[in-house]
């Protein structure tokens, strides 16, 4: 299965600022998925990033708040913009190499103060 390098592993940010999270995959993949995991909660899909097209956002998530880039088949970034304490969560990227070969990054623990 794919190996994903996700950075940063954690950060503490001031409200009103932005943080960009990076995911680098060791091989080419068509789609990358970005999830949010609020404290003690399950994973919620933010958006699906397909190379060469705009990301597709789930209900409740908007591009202005969570802009995503997908410049090539091995890399993607998620930016959390104009942060507030409610954005404090774990953010994870994921890829599917085969029908059931889902792999996750190690997650970014974001704390907004």
């Amino acid at each position: 299965s794919a190996v994903i390098s996700q950075k940063p592993s954690r950060d503490i940010c001031q409200r009103g600022t932005s943080l960009t999270i990076q995911c680098q995959v060791d091989s080419q993949v068509t789609m990358m998925f970005w999830y949010r995991q609020q404290p003690g909660q399950s994973l919620t899909l933010i958006a699906t990033a397909n190379q060469g097209s705009e990301a597709t956002y789930e209900s409740g998530f908007v591009i202005d708040k969570f802009p995503i880039s997908r410049p090539n088949l091995t890399f993607s970034t998620l930016t959390v913009s104009n942060m507030s304490p409610e954005d404090s969560s774990i953010y994870l990227c994921s890829v599917a190499r085969a029908i059931y070969g889902y792999t996750f990054g190690s997650g970014t623990r974001l704390t907004v103060v």
Binding site: F33, L92, Y100, Y102, F104, G107, R109
Partner: protein, 116 residues
């Protein structure tokens, strides 16, 4: 839309004993995939076991096995000979079998404690 329900927020098991985690799902699709993921405190999502809906035989991976009841839309995970390292959050997940890669839909998770 598909939904996944895990009705046990927390479970505990004695070391070396067996525990079963419950999962039900709702879908109108006939072909799909089901997964159990483990998330230890390190946050890393680790695939425990997977099941293709078209297969009647229940999947097994060493100490982990599932009871897949398609008609009842039930997908429980049995952990045998529980070990301290099994303590983690366990998430049940669903994936459509349509064309292309589709994201996983997760349940709310079950926190498993293992008592020495």
């Amino acid at each position: 839309a598909q939904t996944v329900t895990q009705s046990q927020p927390e479970m505990s098991v004695q070391e070396a004993e067996t525990v079963t985690l419950s999962c039900t799902y709702d879908t109108s699709e006939s072909d799909y995939y089901l997964f159990w993921y483990k998330q230890p405190p390190s946050r890393q999502m680790i695939l425990v076991i997977r099941q293709e809906a078209y297969k009647q035989q229940n999947a097994t991976e060493n100490r982990f096995s599932v009871n897949f009841q398609k008609a009842a839309k039930s997908f429980s995970l049995k952990i045998s000979d529980s070990q301290l390292g099994d303590a983690a959050m366990y998430f049940c997940a669903y994936r459509s079998a349509g064309q292309g890669n589709t994201p996983l839909v997760f349940g709310k998770g079950t926190r498993l404690s293992v008592i020495a």
